[in-house]
């Protein structure tokens, strides 16, 4: 009897399993665990090559900490907006839900814009992928982070478009929450990269 009850329950709530967590959310956590190793390996490579370049430019000659602090602030603020977006969707306030989703994506795009400016500026200063170990490791590490942010922006804009079409509501808040998990993760990775690459001399 109890099994029949549980089976009937499972039909009503298809994605909630043994642990009471949603499958999709747990899958996202597993993915983020894997991403930790991905960025851990990239950061480890950067650190093991730190100071090993046999020619310039070196990091302290070229990194613009004030400028990147602004872009880091922009990215961290987008995390705040992400929280507001999720809260708005959860309470069925789709007007603000749309606004916050769009602004989160906008700040993310702003961060990517800063990065594009930074990369072109560095290339003009003579630092490219092929210049030295610093250029190689710096561009690949921050570039892969930027690619993750870009992916997040596309994801956020997709949710925003769904919301504009009226296809996103409180019953879909889990999709916003999962996107938020990814978005916060990408932010946290930037805190690690910003500290290790820019702030520590």
């Amino acid at each position: 009897m109890s099994s029949a009850h549980v089976a009937a329950h499972a039909v009503h709530d298809p994605n909630t399993g043994t642990t009471g967590l949603d499958n999709r959310k747990m899958g996202m956590w597993a993915f983020l665990g894997s991403e930790c190793m991905f960025f851990g390996t990239l950061i480890g490579t950067y650190l093991s090559y730190k100071g090993k370049s046999i020619s310039g430019p070196t990091p302290h000659e070229i990194l613009n900490i004030p400028l990147t602090s602004v872009s880091a602030f922009v990215l961290l603020m987008s995390s705040l907006l992400m929280v507001l977006a999720l809260a708005a969707v959860q309470r069925n306030d789709m007007t603000w839900g749309k606004i916050w989703l769009f602004l989160t994506a906008l700040l993310g795009a702003g961060f990517v814009g800063f990065q594009i400016y930074e990369f072109t500026h560095f290339v003009h200063l003579g630092l490219t992928l092929q210049t030295n170990l610093f250029g190689t490791t710096f561009f690949v590490l921050t570039g892969f982070h930027g690619a993750h942010v870009t992916g997040g922006v596309i994801w956020l804009l997709s949710l925003w478009v769904l919301a504009l079409r009226g296809k996103l509501g409180p019953q879909d808040s889990l999709k916003v929450e999962i996107c938020g998990l990814y978005w916060h993760f990408v932010d946290i990775v930037w805190i690690a990269i910003f500290t290790l690459v820019y702030l520590i001399p």
Partner: protein, 619 residues
């Protein structure tokens, strides 16, 4: 739209048939069969590569293949056996058996599961397409940079290898996320973690290894790709790069990979032995803890593959001790398996023979492994045939024996037909003898100095006889697999029909029909202990009452089951990914076009069931 496609089980419902139903399937059982079939085909391809190598080495100064072709053969043999044969054979059992063993109707993400398979196939095809264009990878399965850097491997062969492995890694990662969620979150009521069958436990450990180890090789391959395509300096010692970077990144992945290959086989053996000894697995919790320990230590021993590069005594000692520590949980498991057999009522079936072969051969491989764990000994053995012997005792004597034990054990459940036990036993003995004739002499050849990866040797080195013996053994192994194929051929046409529970099994898969219906369980069972079906049939063996059997499903139960409808987006997404990745070998325009196609397919995949009618989603 999807309503008409939703499967409505009941006595009248039959599984859909035809090629299209296989291409669009999201059923974990069919995906398991696809994995198993593809893996077996690639296993034969890798085996043929091995036979050509053995023919070349059968006699000194042989000229069957040249040095370049030989390099391609050992590279593709290793890559194929690891990524295209053993891993997907394990994946076949994960797919088919895990939902059945935990009392679920499918995996957590059925379409992602289909995507994993098609992406695997895409990577496998890309890798083997290199033969067609005459640029087969030749840098070893480990692909050491700087050997694989543009300077020393200017052609496209390494590009095929890098891109192929990148795609295969993606497939493994997606499967890893899927099975972690499936195992943790989709167990039947009452199936606590410690009541989970040991095969499911070992699978769970493997998924964690995949999810945490594959990013390391993903990054290593990305860096190599950037070096080769964009001129970065990661593996350029002339620019100050560390010549060991690749080796570290590769083996941080590579050693957990070894456990990714062996733990599924250990799980299978832990299911087969109790069934055919008619006893519970001796000290099952300890077997589980040992598996977790092996997985955990597996991340701390990678540099024992690098003792010969000169890391210094401190690093050598640390990695040596960690490596020796792994022998402890492994040894514990072996004693538990022997303890399971001890005073059991043993039935000698083909499945049991293969499990016994696994234990015996794996002990030998494990012992030579402990020898390598000591750096001074390892320095003598590095890059000799002794290492070839060792790794084949654990990967062939271990993984392949274990996986074929699983194949003989679960064959009736998967196909609904019994395999011929006499042919199965013949397969086992031929394979056991052929295996030892092939690989045991390699210990000796290695100790008297024969290096690995040489394509020929001079006649006066004393290596002639044992190389010939080894080649004869390799063909004996080939004959044993012909027996297996004959067995499958014969029994699929006219084999005895399997009952739901032909072995008097212990776990939930034997409680349902062979082969299982599309929805697996009419009523999701409630679990009362480890070996739930045994508890239902025979009680706990200490006079307790048998566990209650689940009620027969009513028409209402069956009508309330909704399985996910088929989808063609997984194969389209995998195809567009393959199109994009292969563009890296052809033209940037193909990469861009492929990327856009991939993005489009991802959207269609993601939004296919956005806001479904509640009953259309899984279960």
């Amino acid at each position: 739209m999807a309503t008409h496609a939703a499967f409505m089980p009941g006595e009248a419902a039959a599984a859909p048939s035809g090629l299209w139903s296989w291409i669009t399937t999201v059923d974990h059982k069919r995906i398991g069969i696809l994995y198993g079939t593809s893996a077996f085909i690639f296993f034969l391809v890798g085996g043929i590569e091995a036979l050509i190598m053995r023919l070349q080495l059968a006699a000194p100064d042989n000229t069957l293949v040249g040095a370049q072709r030989f390099n391609e053969l050992f590279t593709m043999h290793g890559t194929t056996m690891v990524f295209l044969a053993i891993m997907p054979m394990s994946a076949a059992f994960f797919n088919y058996m895990i939902p059945l063993l935990i009392g679920a109707r499918d995996v957590a993400f059925p379409r992602l599961n289909a995507l994993s398979y098609w992406v695997f196939l895409a990577g496998a095809l890309l890798l083997n397409a290199s033969f067609v264009v005459g640029a087969a990878p030749d840098g070893g399965w480990f692909g050491y940079a700087t050997l694989t850097s543009k300077q020393f491997s200017p052609g496209q062969s390494i590009d095929f290898w890098v891109l192929g492995l990148q795609i295969l890694g993606l497939s493994s990662l997606m499967a890893g996320f899927n099975f972690i969620v499936t195992i943790v979150n989709m167990r039947a009521p009452g199936m606590t973690l410690m009541r989970m069958p040991v095969f499911v436990w070992m699978s769970l450990v493997v998924q964690f290894l995949v999810v945490l180890a594959f990013p390391a090789i993903t990054v290593a391959l990305i860096l190599l790709m950037f070096d080769r395509f964009f001129g970065t300096l990661f593996y350029a010692p002339a620019a100050g790069g560390d010549p060991l970077l690749w080796q570290h990144l590769f083996w941080i992945f590579g050693h957990p990979e070894v456990y990714i290959l062996i733990l599924p086989a250990m799980g299978i053996v832990s299911e087969v032995l109790p069934t055919f000894a008619r006893k519970p697995l001796f000290g099952a919790p300890v077997v589980i803890y040992s598996g977790i320990m092996i997985g955990f230590f597996g991340f701390g021993v990678w540099s024992h593959h690098m003792f010969a590069v000169g890391m210094g005594p401190v690093a050598d000692s640390a990695f040596s001790i960690a490596t020796m520590l792994i022998a402890i949980p492994t040894g514990v498991k072996i004693f538990n398996w022997i303890g399971t057999l001890w005073s059991g009522s043993i039935r000698f079936t083909a499945a049991l023979y293969f499990s016994l072969g696994f234990i015996a051969m794996f002990i030998m491989g494990g012992l030579s492994g402990v020898m390598h764990a000591s750096p001074p000994v390892d320095l003598q053995q590095t890059d000799t045939y002794f290492v070839v012997a060792h790794l084949h005792y654990v990967l062939f004597g271990g993984s392949i024996f274990g996986l074929f034990s699983g194949a003989y054990y679960w064959w009736p459940k998967i196909t609904g037909r019994m395999l011929d036990e006499r042919l199965g036993t013949l397969h086992f003995w031929l394979m056991l003898i052929g295996f030892n004739v092939t690989f045991f002499p390699m210990h000796y050849l290695g100790l008297i100095g024969m290096p690995r990866r040489i394509y020929t040797y001079a006649p006066d080195l004393g290596w002639n006889f044992w190389n010939l013996v080894s080649t004869v053994g390799a063909f004996l192994i080939a004959v044993s697999f012909l027996v297996f194929i004959a067995n499958v051929w014969k029994t699929m046409r006219a084999g005895a029909v399997a009952s739901p529970d032909p072995w008097d099994g212990r776990t939930l898969e034997w409680a349902i029909a062979s082969p299982p219906p599309v929805h697996n369980f009419g009523v999701i069972p409630t679990v009362h202990g480890r070996d739930e079906l045994w508890l239902q049939k025979h009680g706990d063996g200490h006079g307790g009452t048998p566990a209650p059997r689940p009620p027969a499903p009513t028409r209402q139960d069956l009508a309330s089951i909704h399985m996910p409808p088929p989808s063609y987006w997984p194969i389209l997404l995998a195809a567009s990914m393959l199109f994009m990745m292969s563009g890296a070998l052809i033209s940037i325009y193909q990469v861009v076009l492929g990327g856009l196609l991939t993005l489009y397919c991802m959207f269609r995949f993601a939004l296919e069931y956005h806001r479904p009618h509640p009953q259309e989603s899984l279960r």
